[in-house]
Point group: C2
């Protein structure tokens, strides 16, 4: 596998309304996109910091995975997303190496990316997302 | 404040011996430095992934902050480090904005950086490190 860079860092927040001004001040960078992903039950807000994006995640339902995460662990880093070329081949390689896939096939994520999650039980406790931007090619 | 990029992502691991081969395979990038920071009671291992480093942290004592973190939360992302210019001025700005400083003044970190930590209670649950590479100037 070859990761080119950290595509984004997902941070679980209770409220985008409170978190956006904090991160704008901390990073010195304006939030450039807010997007709802209904199938994930989240509203997301994006910032650029060098090569990487910060993706704030607010749950739109207590039943969603972000709602449950915050209930259990509080606000904080939720996942790390690595940019790869050839997401399907990379997923197959992960499976061959004994890594447990949450998504067995790529699916659509925020910002038009193809994404898939790997289970933190097999990735050293780091909820890991692989993503590919097919529009860039 | 103006962050140029994510300098590194600190990941708490139980054992570097187990974690290094996993991350070398996941990132497709060799560990290029192993360093002990006795005053932090940690042994660290570094990888490059684009602009950002992955810093694995193994506790050299159960009393150290990484040992306590793993006992409480398990392995996983421990902190996020942002690269800034002018660490002292940035710390003063953080304090002015009501952010609780763990380090009131810069101190030495791994890889020769000047670093300071901010308390996760005032940074949306993200243990935040600010760092400056004075050797680059």
């Amino acid at each position: 596998m070859k990761v080119s860079h950290i595509e984004h860092l997902g941070i679980a927040v209770k409220s985008l309304e409170t978190a956006i001004p904090y991160w704008e001040k901390m990073l010195g960078s304006k939030c450039y996109n807010i997007e709802e992903v209904p199938e994930q039950k989240v509203k997301t807000a994006f910032f650029k910091v060098g090569q990487t994006k910060i993706e704030l995640l607010e749950s739109t339902s207590p039943e969603g995975s972000i709602g449950k995460f915050i209930e259990k662990r509080g606000e904080g880093v939720h996942h790390v997303a690595f940019a790869v070329d050839g997401l399907e081949e990379n997923l197959a390689e992960c499976a061959d190496n004994g890594i447990q896939l949450i998504d067995k096939a790529p699916r659509g994520g925020a910002e038009g990316l193809s994404i898939a999650f790997l289970h933190p039980k097999s990735t050293g406790g780091v909820l890991t997302e692989l993503c590919e931007d097919k529009n860039k090619k």
